[in-house]
Symmetry: C2
Subunit: 333 residues, 2 copies
């Protein structure tokens, strides 16, 4: 049995609780931490919307929770940003717990804050624990999975991943975040003022995939966030998008390595996307063309990608790891 | 640089040589062993059909080759049967080399010969080396890859894999092996006399996938080898198949675990297969439906699946391993 503490009882954290109770008999939830005044001191079952009480109170003090529960692993689902969770990570590591987090920047933190990443790595090695950023994207769809799809290839010249998400099926905050329903002018404005931001994790995925392939990144070009405009009217439970209005976002990334080898990532997330899919093109010997259709539901996918990694993480070498440290990979060439 | 010795300079072994020379700057081929009188004593380059000599003579004595070349890893591409390669494995392990092999039965040898598997595991642990059976099938398509495709799923109720191979694109021995061009009567006769045999590896894949999922196998049903008959005339470089004649083979397997959880494998290999593909259906939360279309070319796929595993194998824990020991997996539940 693996004892787990949860930090962050938001939308994803609540799904983590439900999943553990229903499908993970080998995980025992021993603590839950959140700082929201409306959650602290209440029973976790009640906070996540279950019928039953779980006999576990949401606490606001991580150190107290760790001392009382001594978890094997801390699951952190609070923020996409490394800076926001850095203290939580360091505290957990200091207490001798492995850590896994949905934090997108943690999937490959060396490109976000190399000094913080080095410090975390040192602390984790010193404490003999492992720290991992995981999730469905980054952490699976645009990095781990395409890396696995290249395993039968003796030669790889290029990898292209296209993830097209129908945002109609996602939560309201997600639909708002991608500007669904805005005019193109409002969208541009929202991008320039930072209310609409790029998907956090695209660069992480590119670096992870390059590392798994043994490619040294020579250059990377990331597009700005562009609007996808609706061609027909689309109505979801939360927004209505007229033709010509913004339905969502589009981003591209190209990473180049020696000998013209390339990674191309395309991410589209918009309401009313018709051919929702994850598509993978490996130019190589043999070539591989794979499609997941429709795409994998992102929220449950993230919860699964986190929880399923835990047993392997607990047996892994200490340090700040990435998901491609847990699969077969090639040396630099 | 990883020093590798090759045992078996047949069709796949020759492709291993070509791939290493062209695409694996981090593998150095230091010895080649084969017992065929027409190959022994000749230059490896010549034997595998290269324009250039490689300055490496094909030897017939594995022990001499190991003593002279001291490889980090021995690549064994001689037989599908564990019994055929057992001595080669034990000798290589005894010399302190890691071993990787295309031998289908080695992918999960415990169901073939538990005593031999235990002996190999003991010997490998004692010598501090790892032994692995890998390849595209078993080793990737029906085990490692579907296991990876379940990583985003919090719940998995069933996994179905359908591999449909167009045998027209494969080597002549493969087309003969599946009975292409035979009458249905001749086919039945060939099956009953053992001239046409089941694909070696289907059971291995089922056990590997169950293990990665943390499922205890409760029962397994494997169909006999059935003929796929041609609906139209099909001509390949090697055989001509009239309508009503045998185009190839079909096999199914069902593994059952607790709570009605199931693995279903379907393998069809016949000349003229129109929708050549590898298809994966995960019944779970979220569900995953992936298709690789057309299917991955099996010979190059096997070579890639072997060579790309080597760096990870060399860093792995000692013992008799399986491909799912090298990826994130779930504990028994």
């Amino acid at each position: 049995m693996i004892d787990a503490a949860l930090v962050g009882v938001g939308a994803i954290g609540s799904m983590v609780v439900r999943a553990i109770l229903e499908d993970y008999p080998w995980i025992d939830l021993v603590a839950a931490v959140d700082v929201a005044p409306g959650k602290v001191g209440r029973d976790l079952g009640e906070v996540v919307g279950l019928e039953e009480e779980l006999g576990l109170e949401v606490e606001d003090d991580l150190e107290v929770a760790l001392v009382e529960s001594v978890p094997d692993v801390v699951i952190v689902t609070t923020s996409s940003r490394l800076g926001d969770i850095f203290d939580t990570l360091l505290t957990s590591v200091g207490f001798g717990s492995d850590v896994i987090s949905t934090c997108e920047e943690l999937a490959y933190p060396w490109i976000v804050d190399p000094a913080a990443a080095r410090l975390l790595d040192d602390a984790a090695r010193w404490a003999g624990v492992s720290v991992l950023g995981a999730g469905v994207n980054p952490g699976f769809m645009m990095d781990l999975l395409p890396a696995i799809l290249t395993l039968p290839c003796t030669k790889v010249e290029g990898v292209e991943v296209r993830r097209v998400v129908d945002a109609s099926k996602r939560r309201e905050p997600f639909q708002r975040k991608i500007g669904a329903g805005m005019t193109p002018e409002d969208f541009r404005d929202a991008v320039s003022t930072g209310r609409i931001t790029a998907h956090v994790g695209l660069e992480q995925s590119a670096y992870l995939l390059a590392e798994a392939l043994g490619w040294r990144p020579l250059g990377m070009e990331v597009s700005p966030v562009e609007p996808v405009t609706a061609e027909r009217e689309v109505a979801t439970d939360y927004v209505k998008v007229e033709p010509g209005m913004v339905a969502g976002v589009r981003q591209t990334l190209r990473l180049e390595s020696e000998g013209g080898r390339r990674i191309d990532l395309l991410l589209e997330a918009y309401v009313g996307a018709e051919d929702e899919r994850d598509e993978f093109l490996v130019k190589g010997r043999p070539p591989v063309h794979a499609t997941i259709r429709p795409g994998v539901q992102g929220d449950w996918g993230t919860v699964g990608s986190i929880l399923n990694m835990i047993p392997t993480l607990l047996g892994a070498d200490p340090g700040l790891l990435t998901v491609v440290d847990l699969i077969p990979r090639r040396p630099l060439s």
